[in-house]
Point group: C2
Chain length 367, copies 2
């Protein structure tokens, strides 16, 4: 790469940002949801023999002697990923850590370390930043994580948070996305759809609050949903259970984009189809009731809601026997041959093709 | 942490951003340059026995069996860290990687892996993003680095880049900031002040270009300076030289904020004073000539310029004998007892107290 003086720059025009204007212009939105990532992937060459897995899973995997280190990173931007009008900064700090720990858990690994970088506009006071870091500290305490580094900087506008999480696992314990086999049982932890409905509740409250600031919030029966949205947890507890039970999932992913989207990721990566059963999908009563209140299909909320941070995984039928009585794991279907497609079998017995309705514009995409 | 509904939020006011307004307000600028970092440090507790070093050095250190993994991260924000009116995106991508690799090198470690996250507004086309990643790929190729993960997301405005670099070293080889001893020889690699003057040249060109877009740039004799600003290199070559010569610096830091600021970091962390000699400070002829052209003191540019990404390190006098003939390492002074202060001995023989004039407002601070 040779330095090209600005005035001789091939992109030079007479506009202020001349370095980026006068090139052929393809909108990012034209590239589709994962097009940009595919393009980035194409340019990537792995050179180090200790790189076990690069781009394309919940976390990268590097091997150092007997230990594999897993690394995952997220960039959260105000106005895109969070709205400070209803997200307290303490919760934001907590959640920002959790979503990264969830990615490490999704590899069947135990998170240990994080770095946290923040860019802050002068709108933010020291007290506000302290709130944010209190939430971060609380998550570190809850999950036994060390905050080992980061960066702080000013920003022209708004708040940006970048967190990188690192964890460890023995190489044989790591669960990837691309190793499910037809016949494996498809399981999920916890319940689904609540975080999405919590967001709908918060959005509704915000609108009503803006219309009438003296209004008392009506959240009595929504505490569970709102809590799932504002303060999700990473299922590291399940990883310890797997260790205790001697289970290594044949594939795993965390449910951040929604069950439909994340199941499709597993199937695409593994080259399988799948059948899941509407009647088996786990949801809290509050989810079912509130979906109806919002005139939404509960199944749509469960399938496409996103931000549940539960684990979606597959195990062999034999391994599943060890999990059959687990209080918080539910079998929802079975992996099939790719040719059979990815189907949701409705409670009435009809098959529907599963489609990702999560974030299908250029939005937030993990490499 | 309990979820607090927005309307009952202690910060609730009738403004849109009610969650962050109605708290006691201390401006970030009041806290001073490193006040925020000190405050964050106070909240941090290290829980994992494999955390060898957390916040406070160029990189964090974690131990996995025989290997230590070093991690450093940077957040680069458009309008704060870079100006796309004269920084081509390919150079920006390259430099963004290099500054992180430099932090790993500053620990006497070899970088191996990076993650790259970008937030992009719709001002950026696919071609622009491709340019950025070409620069990133070029840096990966040059330094033998694997890009193993990241995140892509939209941004309401501008470009933000977050890079995390990881490297390895044996525990005994790691060079920290806080282990210099009085009597140690203070050395720097390469030459200093050029990147800062390169920035001045680019700023001048930008103003002239804005005034007269048809103007031809006058950069013939400034190529070295501008190249140092736009395309710095990380001194991993020196780390390999240290290995070959059997040298472990007694302390080390990379010069990102300027020699003065970074020498003060070493002295403060190590509890030492220092004397450096103006006559020994390494600078390119172009730096000396251009400083004069801009009516600046060359020594000020060398001491406070910043962004050189050279290494500042100390070695014992015996170890220094092995470096005496190194083509690209220069002894500039000696560590002293703390009581003797940190002094610059002028060419005329007068002592001046070294003061950090780098970024003394709330700006860009590494944890």
């Amino acid at each position: 790469m040779q330095y090209v003086p600005a005035g001789q720059n091939q992109y030079a025009t007479n506009t202020k940002e001349y370095s980026i204007i006068k090139m052929k212009r393809t909108e990012l939105s034209e590239l589709g949801e994962f097009g940009l990532i595919d393009r980035i992937k194409e340019t990537v060459l792995l050179r180090n023999t200790n790189t076990i897995r690069g781009i394309g899973d919940d976390a990268a995997v590097m091997e150092y002697g007997e230990t594999c280190v897993l690394v995952s990173t997220d960039l959260l931007v105000e106005g895109i990923h969070f709205d400070l009008s209803y997200v307290p900064l303490r919760h934001l700090g907590y959640k920002a850590v959790v979503v990264n720990l969830s990615d490490i858990a999704a590899m069947n690994a135990i998170p240990q370390h994080i770095t946290v970088s923040v860019a802050l506009s002068n709108r933010f006071s020291v007290e506000a930043v302290t709130e944010l870091y209190e939430g971060i500290s609380l998550a570190c305490e809850h999950y036994g994580i060390d905050l080992v580094g980061g960066d702080t900087t000013t920003s022209p506008a708004g708040l940006t948070i970048s967190i990188t999480a690192m964890g460890t696992a023995a190489r044989a314990d790591i669960a990837y996305r691309n190793t499910a086999r037809p016949g494996d049982v498809i399981c999920v932890t916890g319940d689904l759809g609540a975080a999405y409905l919590g967001l709908q509740v918060l959005e509704r409250e915000k609108q009503e609050f803006l219309a009438n600031p003296d209004m008392e919030p009506k959240l009595d029966d929504k505490e569970y949903l709102v809590g799932r949205q504002l303060k999700p947890e990473a299922r590291t507890d399940i990883i310890y259970d797997f260790r205790d039970l001697g289970i290594v999932p044949s594939s795993m992913i965390d449910i951040s984009d929604g069950l439909a989207s994340d199941l499709l990721h597993l199937c695409k990566a593994s080259g399988t189809g799948a059948a899941i059963y509407e009647a088996e999908l786990p949801a809290d009563d509050a989810t079912l009731l509130t979906a109806t209140e919002f005139n939404m299909s509960p199944t749509t909320c469960i399938m496409n809601g996103g931000e549940d941070y539960e684990l979606l995984f597959t195990v062999s039928q034999q391994q599943y026997e060890k999990l059959r009585n687990h209080r918080d794991i539910k079998a929802i279907g079975v992996m099939r041959d790719a040719g059979e497609g990815v189907l949701l079998m409705s409670s009435a017995g009809n098959p529907y093709v599963v489609q990702a309705q999560g974030w299908n514009h250029f939005g937030d995409n993990k490499l």
